[in-house]
């Protein structure tokens, strides 16, 4: 209580300070504007003003000044693709988990590690290459806009001569990258640097996350109030702050709130990428409704109201992926591609591919809501699943009784994917391999693909497989709408509202509690009593009238 009182007092004083700051800034404007935001113009460095024959050559040049940069990067998940979840102890990360999209990285490296923050990781059974020059500085720091990673070269860029038909990781036709130009352009990561990988996860634009699509390269205000140039014009790393190349923000260990935001000294460093890190837990103003909205923040994540739907702005997200139907071919034995979903921006998305099976797509998707404390447990490849129920690839921790939990929005991905029907474990696949005779995308043979996938990782596979329905949860944290587009109260405060599945918290209008039932019963009994009493009175009046008439 005292804390809150202090927070209110601090807010008042902060508003005065802020007013003073605006005045001071206005005074600054008359001074000659700064020409460059940096003290080092990399285009003037001799070591960069030369042609480079490969990515690692550029990195070597970078390391000649930034001597510890590769070491820092090599200690991050961007490099290791491995993460030990602190609560469960599970060893997660791209190199270990099986997801409900492409499944597993192992065996499919050249394609999957095309998004690795390095070069040449061709075998994820081993840690990423130990050579500091294998770190890809340009993926994150190029600002020339013409650096790209080819989609099947284990992270290497397309260089002259580019193989005809080759594609970059965003699916664009590949062009020969000018490494020298890229090296001289380096700067802080832009949305393009992050987006080129993260907007295309799962093999295409917005396939995986739902709230991370190419729309965010230049989003309208209505799609993302932070990233839009009509809004705050922020970059990814404004929130995902970085220390020693460790970038904050994780869906394995999510900050569902930043509990110390309102006690942190103004300007103090914070490495938590939660809404309240900047906005505090009491951002709604002091109107009756504002104060009541503030009462929500200890239970409802900001994202739940302020991201009314995901996959907004014209790019759909994949909502269902059914691998079990993959492999159907034409009479001539050719693979099939069936489009049929036209997304908001006019682009066709596939509904069936022989390589991947059936898909469903969604735009402006209403999230799935669940209690969430930020921790997840994965159905790991070495753990048995229960094939009689839908399997949760990642199950969410948290409940109403836990003060650290919030009601959080998710994309709930529906999958149907291969598992070993004898050991009841999720199966590794081998899908990518243009020249192999076992890869599914080349041979369309599940038996071979799953056997090869198991063999590659040394998994004990029975040879008997089936397909299991799965859910996978993706926290929805991006595409924050302008305040005016936040959810109306009634979206949750009605009987079949968005909180219908949420237990353990009182949601007015969300359903009748014991008090309401009992209260209405009392009222109805009272009303019946009134009706009965009135009826008896009328009978009495009639009877007396009758009597009077007889006597009269």
């Amino acid at each position: 209580m005292a804390q809150r009182a202090w927070a209110i007092a601090a807010l008042f004083s902060a508003s005065f300070l802020w007013a003073g700051g605006v005045w001071a800034q206005t005074g600054m404007e008359s001074i000659v504007p700064q020409l460059s935001g940096t003290t080092a113009d990399h285009s003037k460095f001799e070591v960069l003003r030369k042609p480079f024959a490969s990515g690692p050559e550029v990195t070597q040049a970078c390391l000649s000044c930034h001597t510890e940069a590769s070491d820092q990067v090599m200690h991050t998940v961007h490099w290791q693709w491995e993460y030990t979840q602190p609560e469960t102890g599970q060893i997660l990360g791209k190199s270990n988990v099986i997801n409900s999209f492409c499944g597993n990285v192992a065996g499919n490296e050249a394609r999957c590690t095309s998004c690795h923050a390095g070069y040449g990781w061709t075998d994820v059974r081993q840690p990423a290459p130990d050579d500091p020059t294998q770190v890809d500085c340009l993926a994150c720091h190029d600002t020339s806009g013409q650096y790209a990673k080819q989609d099947n070269q284990a992270g290497n860029p397309p260089l002259d001569p580019v193989t005809p038909g080759a594609k970059t990781i965003t699916g664009a036709l590949a062009w020969p990258v000018n490494l020298s130009e890229a090296a001289q352009s380096v700067g802080m990561p832009t949305n393009e640097n992050c987006g080129n990988c993260h907007f295309y996860g799962g093999g295409g634009d917005n396939v995986k996350h739902g709230d991370l699509s190419s729309v965010l390269f230049d989003p309208p205000l209505a799609v993302d109030v932070h990233m839009s140039s009509d809004g705050a014009n922020m970059t990814c790393v404004d929130c995902h702050v970085t220390e020693d190349h460790v970038i904050n923000g994780s869906r394995y260990d999510t900050n569902v709130s930043d509990p110390h935001a309102d006690t942190r000294a103004p300007g103090a460093a914070s490495d938590v990428a939660a809404c309240d890190s900047c906005h505090t837990a009491t951002p709604h103003g002091n109107s009756v409704v504002g104060l009541k909205l503030n009462d929500h923040t200890d239970r409802v994540a900001c994202e739940s109201c302020h991201i009314p739907a995901f996959a907004r702005g014209g790019v759909a997200t994949k909502t269902l992926w059914d691998w079990s139907t993959a492999g159907r071919l034409t009479a001539e034995g050719k693979p099939i591609t069936e489009n049929g979903y036209t997304q908001g921006n006019g682009v066709e998305r596939g509904l069936y591919l022989s390589t991947k099976g059936d898909f469903a797509w969604g735009e402006n998707v209403v999230p799935y809501y669940a209690w969430f404390d930020g921790n997840v447990s994965y159905s790991q490849p070495d753990e048995a699943i229960n094939p009689s129920a839908r399997v949760e690839i990642n199950s969410l921790h948290g409940d109403a009784g836990d003060a650290a939990s919030r009601i959080f929005p998710f994309k709930r991905m529906e999958g149907r994917q291969a598992y070993d029907t004898i050991s009841n474990r999720l199966a590794f696949n081998l899908v990518y391999g243009p020249k192999s005779d076992t890869a599914f995308w080349t041979n369309f043979d599940w038996a071979k693909s799953l056997q090869a996938g198991a063999d590659y990782v040394g998994d004990d596979y029975s040879g008997s497989y089936g397909f299991i329905d799965t859910y996978m949860y993706w926290p929805i944290t991006h595409m924050v709408a302008p305040a005016r587009d936040a959810l109306d109260c009634v979206e949750c405060h009605k009987s079949d509202g968005r909180m219908a599945m949420i237990a353990g918290v009182y949601v007015p209008a969300g359903g009748m509690g014991l008090g309401g039932k009992l209260g209405i019963l009392i009222f109805v009994l009272g009303a019946l009593g009134v009706v009965g009493h009135a009826a008896l009175r009328m009978v009495g009046v009639a009877r007396r009238k009758n009597k009077g008439a007889k006597h009269g």
Binding site: M1, R4, S287, V288, V289, L291, K292, N294, D295, D298, R299, A400, G401, A403, D488, C489, V490, H493, K494, S495, G504, V505, Y506, P508, A509, G510, G511, M512, G513, L514, G515, G516, L518, G519, I520, I522, F523, L525, G526, A527, G529, V530, H533, A534, L536, R537, V539, G540, V541, R544
Partner: protein, 219 residues
């Protein structure tokens, strides 16, 4: 003893009553909206109106409580057994047979024993239940750091709703009982302030001499 039209409901008393009527109806209308029984107005507007009406009612109650204790009026609500069985018997039996109401209103005792008992219960049980639970709900922010706050919010909300329907049931019965003996006859005093009550000769003389405005001329 004579029946005289005496001003039994002072101006404040009447304002209190009618403002309370308006506010309670408003609270019931907006409250049932908030709990989802109707959707005649937007949820957000209902929350605002409900909160503001409740705050006004609380201020009114503070004034009324002060008024009750600084005037003699609190004594009107002291429960008395005398006459209670007769009044109960009247409502349960006599009223159907066309009997007269057994209670004769007096200036210092304008409520019949059952009425006084009911109003007292309203004042010390139902109203506190509703405003305490309502305030607890409104001031959630101050106790939300407690463990199991969501559970306790559910308890608070259910108590509030149960108390609200109990008040609504009181209102229903209250209005219905006005029809016994004539609705208008019963409502008029709460508008004009004057009601026909039994006044002793001494009291009549006192009013005539000291408070002539409280006594309406006969005829």
């Amino acid at each position: 003893m004579a029946e005289r039209l005496v001003k039994v409901y002072s101006r404040f008393n009447r304002i209190w009553h009618w403002l309370q009527v308006v506010l309670i109806l408003m609270l019931f209308f907006t409250g049932t909206r908030i709990m989802g029984l109707h959707t005649l107005i937007p949820f957000e507007g209902a929350v605002t109106l409900h909160t503001l009406s409740a705050l006004v009612l609380l201020v009114l109650w503070a004034f009324a409580t002060f008024w009750l204790f600084t005037t003699e009026n609190w004594k009107q609500f002291i429960p008395r057994y005398k006459g209670l069985p007769q009044v109960i018997r009247f409502y349960a039996w006599g009223v159907f047979r066309g009997e007269e109401h057994p209670y004769q209103k007096a200036y210092h005792r304008r409520h019949n024993p059952l009425q006084a008992l009911t109003y007292l219960a309203l004042k010390i049980v139902l109203f506190p239940a509703i405003w305490m639970s309502g305030l607890a709900y409104l001031l959630y922010t101050f106790w939300s750091p407690l463990d199991d706050q969501s559970f306790w919010l559910m308890v608070v909300a259910n108590i509030h709703i149960l108390a609200a329907f109990s008040v609504a049931t009181f209102v229903l019965l209250h209005v219905y009982l006005l029809t016994i003996g004539g609705f208008r006859v019963h409502v008029r005093p709460m508008i004009s302030g004057f009601e026909e009550v039994e006044v002793s000769a001494e009291a009549e003389a006192y009013f005539a001499a000291e408070k002539p405005e409280r006594l309406k001329a006969e005829g």
